[in-house]
């Protein structure tokens, strides 16, 4: 009887421990809902917080309603969804590559996307310079830029997967291949920029600043159609990653097809990143920092980490975007610049403050 109570004690202790993840998820969800309202409320035309819910529910042809429905809401929801996609890809890549430095950018994906954009703007003449209140440059054929950057992200991913198939899907092969590809695409972008005129150059530079303002309802739909299934895929596979954290041999001895799981996971994560980056540009550090922040708060248990990271990533980018829009109002700072500013010191803080596990 004594033994039974001991076993029950361990179980209830563990349940209490896992409840932390559940509470964290609910807190982040509540905060996200609140910041969606804040995000809709704040901007060059201020809509009082008390009115926001009313404006969202009762769609009309009033100015406030038009601003909310056409500009603010897609932007705020877009920031959340993009944050979810980038953060979960970072968390998955860190686990799949068994490397704390894994992020969507370790694999050269951002360089590939930037090259794709530069290629579209310079070679395919998809960019031009215009002035408007919010953007210094407007890309006149955004879909070509988006398609090109997406296509080059896919090229980078397939090259890495191909190399992994030839040399074996070890984390080292994938990271080294990613670094090599990243340098190659950066070099190619520089070469293209050298031959570009100043308008094209400005467009390319503008594109690389990740900016959520490029999201419309239809684009949000496409991003969500990719990011949501990707999130479900990673939650479903989180137990495989928990086992793979112990190392390839242990994971294989526990019945996991490690190579297939790694390739498939990398492909899915790259798809999410390619989709987000090709629509909004490069948003740095979220994929790297958010999973580490969540690990610091809740531990490294993957089945808890993945859903928490998804939501926390969304919240992080949502708040970053609100700050970026309002910090030096009326000028809107591209959120990619802000996340890099926030991300780097945050990462150093985590490094100094006792990551405790690297």
């Amino acid at each position: 009887m004594k033994e039974l109570s001991k076993k029950e004690d361990i179980l209830s202790l563990y349940e209490k421990h896992t409840n932390r993840h559940t509470s964290f998820i609910f807190i982040v969800l509540a905060l996200s809902a609140f910041f969606v309202l804040v995000g809709v409320s704040l901007g060059s035309s201020h809509i009082p917080l008390s009115k926001v819910a009313d404006v969202i529910i009762h769609k009309s042809s009033e100015t406030a309603s038009l601003i909310v429905w056409n500009i603010r809401l897609p932007r705020v929801l877009g920031a959340f969804i993009c944050g979810c996609g980038i953060a979960v890809s970072g968390a998955a890549m860190q686990s799949l590559l068994r490397n704390p430095l894994g992020s969507p950018y370790t694999l050269g994906l951002s360089s590939a996307a930037a090259f794709g954009a530069a290629f579209a703007i310079i070679v395919l003449n998809a960019g031009s310079l215009q002035s408007s209140s919010s953007d210094a440059v407007i890309i006149n054929n955004p879909y070509i830029v988006t398609l090109c950057s997406f296509a080059f992200c896919c090229v980078a991913t397939f090259v890495i997967i191909l190399l992994a198939r030839i040399k074996g899907a070890t984390p080292e092969t994938m990271i080294l291949a990613g670094i090599a590809l990243g340098s190659l695409f950066s070099a190619a972008s520089s070469a293209l920029q050298y031959f570009a005129d100043e308008v094209e150059l400005a467009s390319v530079v503008f594109w690389t600043f990740g900016d959520i303002g490029r999201i419309s309802w239809s684009r949000l739909g496409i991003i969500a159609a990719v990011v949501i299934p990707v999130c479900i895929y990673f939650i479903y596979n989180s137990w495989n990653y928990q086992v793979m954290d112990a190392g390839d041999e242990t994971a294989k001895s526990l019945g996991i097809n490690v190579e297939r799981c790694r390739m498939e996971g990398m492909l899915v994560a790259s798809l999410a990143v390619a989709t987000v980056v090709s629509f909004v540009g490069i948003i740095g550090f979220i994929g790297l920092v958010v999973p580490h922040l969540v690990r610091r708060i809740n531990g490294g248990y993957e089945p808890g980490l993945i859903p928490s990271t998804i939501l926390f990533g969304g919240l992080f980018l949502l708040i970053s975007d609100i700050v970026a829009r309002n910090i030096i109002s009326p000028t809107v700072l591209p959120v990619g610049v802000l996340t890099s500013f926030l991300g780097a010191p945050l990462f150093i803080y985590l490094l100094l403050k006792g990551r405790g596990y690297w």
């Binding site: 033994e3 001991k6 076993k7 029950e8 004690d9 361990i10 179980l11 202790l13 563990y14 421990h17 860190q94 686990s95 068994r98 490397n99 704390p100 479903y236 596979n237 989180s238 137990w239 928990q242 086992v243 954290d245 112990a246 190392g247 041999e249 242990t250 294989k252 001895s253 526990l254 019945g255 996991i256 097809n257 690990r295 531990g299 490294g300 248990y301 089945p303 405790g356 596990y357 690297w358």
Partner: protein, 250 residues
């Protein structure tokens, strides 16, 4: 579960590491594989767990070739206790052991899986550290956690890669006693081990490997001065004391 290894040949880039190895372990036995560094002990365990594929020979579990099992069935039957693991991220003792239930779960653990883990933790005396990060444990505790994970897996065969290396005397004895208790309920244990005295005390069978070949196989008599000199190049004498077979270098 009975294990029969027949004529196993394995080479890394045409350098033979295992050369026509034959061994047999019956249900409920502890079989120790001994031999100098580089003799093929760890490679043997990896072949037994299908982490490496031998070029020739067969490994039979109760008469069935392990290469005919699917990955999950193999994981339900054969558990591996590694010597060490490099885990990049934190993981609690409970969650590490829960990973042993992976072959039995669908996409996430059931309540029964968690109950099984709680009872393994209780049996191993790890309840006070159940929620501690395994990076913060001593080497002995961590080894127990790895054994715990293999126990949660409920395998018929347990493979242990040098389970006592880097453990103090108390933990060495504790770990080996634990393995002995397991074999008493019918689990077959095959371990690679360096310490010949521990091998002599705890094994039912000993296989001595040298340069990928079986030099001697059998009971404790395998560990005699002549064979040890031939394999290790060290002169030893055997002292028999309290029914124990003690090997002392001279």
């Amino acid at each position: 579960m009975n294990i029969i290894v027949n004529g196993l040949i394995f080479s890394y880039n045409s350098t033979p590491v295992l050369n026509k190895v034959h061994l047999e372990a019956k249900s409920g036995e502890i079989l120790s594989i001994v031999g100098p560094n580089g003799s093929g002990k760890s490679t043997m365990l990896k072949c037994l767990n299908r982490l490496l594929r031998p070029s020739e020979g067969s490994i039979l579990c109760d008469g069935k070739n392990i290469h005919d099992f699917n990955a999950n069935t193999l994981a339900k039957n054969i558990g591996l206790v590694p010597q060490s693991e490099g885990r990049p991220f934190p993981s609690t003792v409970f969650e590490t052991i829960l990973a042993g239930r992976k072959p039995h779960m669908k996409w996430r653990p059931s309540q029964q899986d968690k109950e099984k883990v709680a009872s393994v933790i209780n049996d191993l005396g790890l309840s006070s550290i159940a929620l501690r990060d395994i990076h913060k444990l001593s080497g002995g505790q961590r080894q127990k956690v790895y054994i715990g994970r293999a126990l949660a897996q409920e395998p018929q065969v347990l493979l242990l890669d040098e389970p006592t290396t880097s453990l103090d005397l108390k933990h060495q004895i504790e770990v080996l006693e634990m393995i002995r208790r397991l074999t008493s309920i019918g689990v077959t244990s095959i371990m690679a081990i360096h310490d010949l005295n521990l091998a002599a005390t705890y094994s039912d069978k000993i296989v001595m490997l040298n340069k990928g070949k079986v030099v001697a196989a059998g009971g404790v008599e395998v560990l005699n001065p002549q064979t040890i000199n031939e394999v290790y190049g060290v002169d030893v004498e055997i002292i028999k004391s309290r029914k124990r077979h003690i090997i002392v270098p001279i």
